[in-house]
């Protein structure tokens, strides 16, 4: 492993390029305040949702004016901004998509995060110089599938949380796509873009600026009501099991990161637009320090980082529980309205 080429400061975006080792640390931008905090904490890049067009509640998305400011903040730090435009539009909204894309491109965004392979091809044809990241919602499962995304214009894919590092490396080698890994996210018992349980339970159809917006459908832009976290029973001839949850677990990676860096993972992403700014700041700072220390020294004090991460996880769990209860209440309310 090569030694570090330069030291970095906290107020300036640092390239995590050290000799032949390079990895991008990507943080969430749920608000302008969060965008600033993420860069102050040392992220290389940030992602922000386009209002009505990303896989999160509109509370954590941005209007054009905010996006422009977010791009400015990112570039002032020497960083990059990815626009998340990864909710599935309705068929017939393709023209709205290209209008959105034109606007985003004119803002000088650095990349788009997309879910729909057809829209990737549209994007590639319109702006061949714009980087396209295939969202985790695309649920790319194998190298042949990844190759079709590559042919449609993708430059990078977000690996499903259940994918092994060997699989990611195999896909990267076969396709030439960059690999992005979620290091703070949740994993459940379905592939992320292949779950419709929430909208099966409850769904409310709205519009935002004329675009369809489905509250309750993660794939189509609204929130997920997290029905997997309800208490479930397994019934048949009798009740076989009761009061269990369907798997939906948060994770914070640490031990796996050094090997990921060594084997060529290109980007480490921290999810969390819906969390508090202070929590996200602390997470980014911890991972920044961890990555830098590993790349610079080749070893890290795992125990010290793990202890710090455990403390952050406790705060994260508490914020997540509040949000889950809020969503479950909303699902029941939405149901009564429809």
């Amino acid at each position: 492993m090569d030694l570090p080429m330069a030291t970095t400061s906290t107020e300036q975006v640092r390239s995590t390029f050290r000799g032949d080792i390079m990895v991008e640390l990507l943080g969430p931008g749920g608000s302008l305040e969060m965008v600033k905090a993420v860069f102050k904490a040392g992220a290389d890049s940030v992602y922000a949702g386009v209002l009505g067009w990303s896989r999160r509640s509109k509370k954590y998305e941005m209007r054009d004016e905010e996006l422009k400011k977010a791009v400015q903040i990112a570039h002032d730090y020497g960083g990059m901004l990815r626009a998340a435009i990864n909710a599935m539009p309705k068929p017939g909204e393709e023209r709205m998509y290209t209008e959105r894309l034109d606007t985003l491109y004119s803002m000088d965004i650095d990349a788009v995060i997309l879910n729909d392979i057809g829209l990737m091809r549209v994007t590639e044809e319109r702006y061949p110089d714009l980087k396209i990241v295939a969202s985790i919602g695309a649920s790319i499962l194998n190298k042949e599938e990844a190759m079709l995304y590559r042919e449609a214009g993708a430059d990078m894919f977000v690996a499903d949380c259940k994918m092994s590092l060997d699989e990611m490396v195999e896909i990267k080698k076969y396709t030439g796509l960059g690999v992005e890994v979620l290091i703070h996210a949740n994993t459940d018992f379905t592939y992320l873009g292949r779950c419709w349980m929430s909208s099966y339970k409850s769904l409310k159809y709205e519009t935002i600026d004329g675009k369809a917006y489905y509250v309750g459908s993660p794939n189509r832009g609204g929130v997920c009501f997290r029905p997997c976290l309800l208490g479930w029973k397994l019934t048949g001839e009798r009740i076989y099991a009761s009061d269990f949850r369907l798997p939906n677990d948060m994770f914070l990676m640490l031990d796996e990161i050094p090997e990921m860096i060594d084997r060529g993972v290109d980007c480490l992403k921290i999810q969390g637009r819906e969390y508090s700014v202070s929590l996200i700041h602390d997470l980014v700072r911890l991972y920044r320090n961890f990555i830098d220390e590993y790349i610079e020294r080749g070893v890290v004090d795992m125990e010290a980082y793990r202890a710090e991460l455990d403390a952050i996880a406790e705060k994260r769990d508490s914020e997540r529980l509040r949000r889950t209860l809020e969503l479950m209440r909303a699902a029941r309310a939405e149901k009564s309205e429809i």
Partner: protein, 288 residues
């Protein structure tokens, strides 16, 4: 209008259960380990295709819905056989679709409902590489599906049965083997449901299905623009496929029957839903 359904293995393939249909999808896409699964190819697949052809039916094969790198060779081996003997191949994974369209450009390719076709742009892309028919994402409404159809590709829609509401990397049901007293591959032969609040779901292999039967019997005229109607029955008993198929065949040829509709209701374990056809939550049913 083509009326179609799916059958997981030879054991489920009785003459009566096939009779109402114009075509059959062979194989269980949610699990490799399902007993006698026709997606594994081999002599059973050849026999099944011969039976269907002798009855004047089209024989399509389906493929494993969620293949990882390690599964690809196995999927492709079946595709290589199916390309020679079947009338079409259904795939719900874009990698498998890429393989079929490149290796067998003359074979009819059907993009299954788990392919996640939400937009006309994706329908156009798939059509351009050789996909001839699409089952649009289950989450699309009727007006959305009409837009997919406008791209020129054939469209197939589920008119009855349990549709997937999720699919993952493993069979979650197997975790309950000791509680149920059966293990794979016997455990999924039991009729079992997950229940919570107002939700009922049917776990099956890697998939989780709607516990209610999506039923468009009362609304069938709204879907007549489609090219094929599917009775989703791959996880159902033989009698279900036969009775539901007969009722929809009669609906297409003779029109609405109150008694047939009531029979559908009696077959359904957990009631009806309309899925997402009306921009509502998938589990809601709107009377016609």
């Amino acid at each position: 209008m083509e009326l179609t359904t799916n059958i997981p293995n030879l054991e489920s393939m009785s003459e009566c259960s096939i009779k109402p249909y114009d075509s059959i999808y062979l194989g269980m896409p949610y699990c490799w380990e399902y007993e006698g699964n026709l997606i594994s190819g081999g002599d059973d697949l050849i026999s099944a295709v011969e039976v269907l052809h002798s009855m004047g039916k089209k024989a399509y094969i389906t493929t494993f819905a969620v293949p990882r790198n390690r599964d690809l060779d196995r999927v492709f081996r079946t595709v290589d056989v199916a390309a020679e003997i079947c009338d079409g191949i259904e795939a719900s994974n874009l990698g498998v679709i890429r393989y079929i369209t490149k290796e067998y450009p003359d074979v009819s390719v059907i993009a299954g409902g788990l392919t996640n076709v939400y937009t006309a742009s994706t329908a156009e892309l798939l059509y351009s590489i050789g996909v001839s028919r699409i089952v649009p994402s289950y989450e699309l409404s009727i007006e959305d599906i009409e837009k997919i159809k406008e791209t020129g590709v054939e469209v197939e829609v589920v008119v009855h049965g349990k549709v997937p509401v999720g699919i993952g990397h493993e069979c979650f049901l197997r975790k309950f083997s000791s509680a149920v007293g059966k293990d794979c591959p016997k455990i999924c032969r039991e009729e079992m449901f997950f229940r919570s609040e107002d939700l009922v779901l049917k776990p099956f292999g890697h998939a989780t299905l709607s516990g209610k039967d999506v039923c468009m019997y009362e609304h069938i005229d709204k879907l007549r623009f489609a090219d094929a109607f599917r009775i989703e029955a791959v996880t159902e008993r033989i009698g279900y496929r036969e009775r539901v198929g007969r009722i929809y065949r009669d609906l297409l040829e003779r029109g609405f029957s109150r008694s047939d509709f009531e029979e559908l209701r009696s077959i359904s374990e957990n009631g009806f839903a309309n899925g997402y056809y009306f921009n509502r939550a998938g589990q809601i049913y709107i009377p016609g």
